[in-house]
Symmetry: C2
Subunit: 256 residues, 2 copies
């Protein structure tokens, strides 16, 4: 999946409400805000049922014998094929009316999800995670049934969303900003090696503000977790920037 196309993933529809109730917790769900950084922008992964104009966050349910954290991981794996992802619980969306979105109801109905439509729009308390993905190339795994659209969207261009997902994303961004200052989670959003200007652009995308080049450089170097490697020349008519890498042994201490 490139960063500009949209893609289609299948979601299973052979399930019915009885099956869901048997295997899953009935009034808890999971929603994940997947962040990815590319094209100098912070992106969020969104889904759209083909029967709706509105997008939504990926999510899932918790098996009865499964930890909530496990369920969040399983969910991401099922959807993206990725398993070494930074995952952080950050919020519980618990308003009683949050699943009563007529747009969602309508979309589910048209979509042919009658068998679990009730289940999907029943009152749910949603445990929200944010996840950091350094590559937007998703290995899609789900192999059955109906198709929906999946898309990386820049955070400053979010379309209308179902349920309370706009608010959930806002909270996720706020939390990501706070965590960026306390932990060294930029590792999870970049390739293994990167230049200082690239790192700076990531910070600018997350905080949605410009930073001063020279001061940013010093700040990062003072953290004492960067290893300077060789230089990398991109063919541009300017000086070649150094490549850096996060020093794994030093990061552990900072990662809470």
């Amino acid at each position: 999946m490139t960063t500009t196309e949209t893609f289609h993933i299948p979601i299973p529809v052979h399930v019915d409400e009885t099956m869901m109730k048997e295997h899953f917790l009935t009034d808890v769900s999971i929603n994940s805000v997947l962040f990815s950084y590319h094209d100098e922008k912070l992106h969020v992964l969104l889904l759209r049922l083909t029967t709706s104009d509105h997008f939504m966050l990926p999510g899932g349910f918790i098996k009865k014998e499964e930890d909530v954290d496990e369920a969040a991981i399983r969910n991401l794996e099922e959807m993206t094929g990725l398993d070494q992802i930074y995952l952080q619980q950050f919020y519980v969306a618990g308003n009683a009316g949050r699943t009563c979105d007529p747009n969602a109801l309508d979309a589910f109905k048209k979509f042919g999800l009658q068998k679990i439509e009730q289940w999907l729009t029943d009152r749910k308390v949603s445990v929200c995670y944010y996840a950091l993905v350094n590559s937007p190339e998703l290995q899609l795994k789900v192999n059955e049934a109906i198709i929906c659209e999946i898309k990386w969207t820049p955070v400053e261009e979010l379309p209308p969303l179902l349920f309370d997902h706009q608010m959930v994303i806002d909270k996720a961004i706020r939390r990501l900003q706070l965590d960026m200052d306390r932990k060294v989670i930029s590792t999870y959003l970049l390739n293994e090696t990167f230049t200082m200007p690239e790192l700076q652009k990531l910070y600018e995308a997350v905080y949605q503000e410009k930073l001063t080049r020279s001061n940013f450089q010093r700040r990062m170097l003072n953290l004492d977790i960067l290893e300077r490697l060789g230089k990398r020349h991109d063919g541009g008519s300017h000086r070649a920037p150094y490549l850096y890498r996060f020093n794994p042994s030093k990061i552990e201490m900072v990662l809470n």
Copy 2:
């Protein structure tokens, strides 16, 4: 309730499992870590069933038509009679095995809670809040049935706890520490007026470390949210400290 005695509150037992399932969400619960500050120590409110040696956090369940935040507030009100409390969601305890605590099962059984024993030890995802209470004087409201012990416990002297409540308290303290630096929540733990040494001792209790007197004073004054009132002399053979008050108009901006 003074700060040294333990107290007994009644909890209702006329309910049975069918009633619970009809009115409440089945696999979500709430736990609250109530913090109070007195005797120069940070305290947590703990309950103990008279049939157990182990203490536990107060908690409750969520009505089907009720927001989770509302439920947390209702819960606190029912238990303490207090309604202007600072309440902050901070964690979801979601491990599958967390409610399988043989000590708890045993205590519930002996306690005569057969009718909802199954309900109480069924797998539950717990939304955890911390709350700030500036007065340990609780107005107890619940008026029926069985008695259990309720006690303010200094955080450095926590007894053995049921379920995963020790871990929940640890996380609550960590979160409280982070929040103390970002917001001005000390208001909720002190009387309206206080002296600088009193404020310092609160910080020392929360961070569990000594702070330098002169620097602490400057730091607090530089926040520009304190109003200096008169002096207060306690009869001690030393200089009388000033009284301070948080300036309500300036606090709002800092309270997120």
